[in-house]
Symmetry: C2
Subunit: 348 residues, 2 copies
DNA sequence: CACTCTCTCCAAAGCGCTTTGGGTTGAATC
DNA sequence: GATTCAACCCAAAGCGCTTTGGAGAGAGTG
């Protein structure tokens, strides 16, 4: 069933039917209702491709899910982010075009999306400090929103969490508990957010006159095994940290496991704070006892971020004169069962 | 730059240029090279929508990522599955159209994809025993592949792991270690795979004359907190299991946490076997010591499954006469550090 | 009553591509 | 030298929709 057939069955022109369906005012209300009823009855939906050819709008948003590392690992964080964004797209009638490519291939993917106009805008995730995708997209004139930001976050739309503050605060909290040997199990520091988190950590230490120990600062893809291995190495060294700061709940789980295997109890022998993105299946909030969730954590819902980024992007698409929209979200520091006072030096 | 401009700049007709670019034989090799060079120089890529309008093919595959539960949780498993599939699509020039909807909305999503021909085929994930999407898609005539299968898996293409055998084998392994009190922390049993896993578990118990204890059989969305809570409840009861069988590594992590908090060591005081989908960030294989990975697990890469499902789907699309392709993958049972002989009854 | 609007509706062009159904041309064939 | 046949190339017709530029019919106005 296409427009032509539908209009013939109604004894109307294609123009009128099209206008009736798209809510234009040049059609009598009675006619519109008749058209809508007929469309409904015939189970008619306009051919998206034809419409796009005619309008030039793709009614689709491009997402590029970066696969990190040589193994092209897929971060579950993106699934939740996409879920949030997808919700918005669906409600506004947009499709989501997903491209999974290695970090190196991302640029080409965006370039292609732009060149054949298969999307009306794109979402940029996990930017590096000086991400080449941003000037690229600006040059291509394709609307985009960055989740996170770069070193010089001007002239484009982004949404980010206050990473420096979050990790400074978390570090201060550990310092207040008497910890002096604090390890940072960070994400890849080529990524801007990880760099900022390290800054926050270093600032807090510096404010108390503590020089960070390079052996206690690890940076890599935020897998469970990365957390595990980092913790194993640090806990088996002669001088070991009494607290860990993890960039995600996933490495934090690895740290917990490493500690547990060595008979160290979280919150008593070793403290752990992680950033909690509120992941669906491994959200920290879920495991809540009267004493709080499992991990003390800086919290910010990645799904809510996805949703908001999508809203911003659609606004940008709707109104090309819209100036850049930038939002900085604060995180909560929620107390859980994984932190406690630093153990007495004798036992460490 | 469009076809018309390109052909004018070359002094050729649109027909010839189009044919040259698409590899038809009616064009001289010299001309083809000239055309290709010009296209390259002009950075020309054909407008996808126009092409689709003309050919009727969308060059896109629809994925519907089911969000489960009232909270619409997104299972990280799907991210890895999609990564595998996406790899294949990209290499064959297909786009991936992703729709995130609640389980109830999935049918409508598929129906829409079919009705406006925005995709050439769809992927069906997480089927229930008697999934309505299958007759729906058959009726719509849209090629599809099911990851998993239904109660009566005939007449359509699917790829599944041998869930019954996997869980029977895992249960037998625990029985061989002397465990008699084995709990099953399963996925939602409306889903076919979960039902099959329970069957495997029950068969193994029945073969040794053991009646399953309903209190030790849990079924829900496979989150970490589900694993945690289930384990807490069972471990705090008077009669507690000595071993757990978990449907995913994620609830298994919750179980481990619950056990650890109670001073129970995995592989010594409590045994755990889980199914390991080889997730990128929380893959069991990663945390490997000389004694093996953290969990004893039935293993099957979800990413490889995604890849293979995509290959099958593209084959189906390429050749409509292709009869259904069905593949049953066996799992490995790999020994990890989470299992050991059943503790002496006195200590239990 | 002629004229001007406003309301409704329509014919046709156009979006950029593929593909059908020929045309030309030059070489090979009889 | 006429005929046949590849080999190349082209004009034009769609694909299904939106949108421009009217046209016709009543209603309102002087």
């Amino acid at each position: 069933m296409n427009l032509k057939q539908l209009s013939e069955s109604l004894g109307l022109s294609q123009t009128t039917v099209s206008r009736a369906l798209n809510g234009y005012p040049e059609v009598r209300e009675a006619t519109r209702l008749r058209v809508l009823a007929a469309a409904q009855a015939a189970n008619y939906t306009p051919n998206v491709k034809a419409r796009h050819l005619a309008t030039g709008r793709a009614m689709a948003i491009g997402h590029v899910m970066p696969l990190t590392g040589r193994e092209e690992l897929v971060n579950p964080i993106f699934a939740d982010f996409i879920a949030g964004a997808g919700e918005v797209y669906a409600s506004e009638g947009y499709d989501m075009l997903l491209s999974m490519v290695s970090v190196e291939g991302a640029e080409a993917a965006y370039r292609q999306m732009a060149s054949n106009a298969s999307v009306d805008g794109v979402m940029v995730q996990a930017p590096t400090m000086d991400d080449p995708r941003i000037p690229l997209l600006q040059g291509l004139g394709l609307p985009f929103v960055v989740h996170g930001r770069t070193g010089s976050p001007e002239g484009y739309s982004w949404l980010d969490v206050a990473n420096i503050r979050a990790f400074r605060r978390a570090t201060e909290f550990l310092l207040d508990l008497g910890h002096r040997k604090i390890a940072l199990v960070n994400g890849q520091e080529t990524l801007d957010f990880a760099r900022r988190r390290r800054l926050g950590y270093e600032q807090a230490l510096a404010a108390r006159g503590i020089t960070p120990n390079p052996a206690w600062m690890r940076t890599d893809i935020m897998t469970e095994q990365f957390g595990y291995r980092s913790a194993v190495e640090m806990l088996e060294a002669d001088d070991r940290p009494t607290a860990f700061l993890a960039a995600s709940i996933i490495p934090a789980i690895g740290i917990r496991q490493a500690a547990g295997e060595r008979g160290l109890r979280l919150g008593r022998d070793v403290s752990v704070i992680c950033h909690d993105d509120g992941l669906s299946y491994i959200g920290n909030e879920g495991i809540r006892t009267p004493e709080g969730p499992a991990f003390t954590a800086t919290r910010s819902s990645i799904r809510a971020a996805g949703k908001r980024c999508a809203e911003i992007l659609l606004r940008l698409i709707d109104d090309p004169t819209q100036p850049p929209i930038q939002e900085l979200w604060e995180t909560d520091l929620t107390l859980g069962r994984s932190t406690g006072p630093a153990p007495a030096p004798a036992s460490a």
